[in-house]
Symmetry: C2
Subunit: 200 residues, 2 copies
């Protein structure tokens, strides 16, 4: 029997797809289209709404030069520039612990270039570590689809060595061996607090 | 003898000022010209450089609408708007403790109007308190030249009462009685950590 649309046209079943919908090497890595920042924001929202932790990304620091105040409407910033953050991007509180971290991604397969960090961010993390805060980096190897928590104290060692003429990157093998891998879970693209638990 | 500038013009001594430099009622209240934010930033810088705590004000959140990328120079934000913060303005770490607070000033002598806070700020502080963070408000009565640390838990009580039809402000007498007064010290316009010590 021919099934017809209300306008009389005959319905044609879509052609059966041949082969798998995804290449056979496809693995479900979760929401692939999200940036690392979006994945962390979603994770932090989940953590906050479930009462696990309160962690936020700080707003991007902006140097405002010119603002217009039109009558009867909101102030409009007409000229401003991006300025360099003096701290890391994320901080918050988790079961009494102060957390402080930055999230970085690299397309480099074999190492994480230290130029992703700035001196003042390292200084800030080190100062927080000295105050008893839990400091770390969340490093994503984009092409490997792998995310790691890497301890601040390990990062400082590589940073200091670099300043003394050492290598300008942290080898992937080092991060894979001494970092803590984080794998996506339902509703939690980056369940980093599980890795934080191992630092406590 | 006439003293001359290199170009030959004669030097004239400025006319002697008559009368006192300041009105006779002038009292030295410290750096009177500083805003509460400037006083806190200076205090936080002092605390950080002396290794006492790491506390920063978060950047003002801005919604960016239009950015120009001129060749060979920095990106210019051409249209942006101030957006509402979803958290408090200040947080950081002090000897292992997570600190979270907002700073507000009022010219009102007899009470602190609760409209200085927003629901989401109270929600944020309450969530941080639940995580074991130390949450409070720094309240400045501008015309009294008095600054208090007021506990988050006391603030939440007044906030909740207001929502149930209670008073829309916290009486000055309540803040003076149950808050902890903070008085300026050398290099420390607002030595609030001394007050925080009483909360630990």
């Amino acid at each position: 029997m021919t099934i017809r649309y209300p306008n009389g046209n005959a319905y044609q079943a879509p052609a059966a797809k041949t082969g798998p919908k995804f290449p056979s090497t496809y693995t479900n890595y979760g929401k692939r289209g999200m940036t690392l920042e979006e994945e962390l924001n979603e994770s932090n929202t989940y953590y906050e709404t479930t009462g696990v932790a309160v962690v936020h990304k700080k707003p991007t620091p902006i140097k405002i030069v010119k603002v217009d105040y039109p009558k009867r409407s909101a102030a409009v910033i007409k000229e401003a520039y991006f300025s360099t953050a003096s701290t890391t991007d994320y901080n918050g509180v988790y079961q009494g612990h102060y957390l402080d971290f930055d999230a970085k991604e690299t397309r480099n397969q074999s190492s994480f270039p230290l130029k992703n960090f700035h001196q003042h961010q390292i200084d800030h993390m080190r100062a927080c570590t000295a105050q008893g805060g839990i400091c770390f980096a969340i490093i994503k190897f984009v092409t490997r689809h792998e995310v790691y928590l890497y301890r601040g104290t390990d990062l400082y060692d590589f940073w200091d060595a670099q300043l003394k003429g050492g290598r300008k990157s942290i080898p992937y093998a080092e991060i894979a061996a001494n970092g803590i891998q984080i794998t996506a879970e339902l509703q939690l693209p980056i369940p980093y607090l599980k890795a934080v638990d191992q630092l406590l």
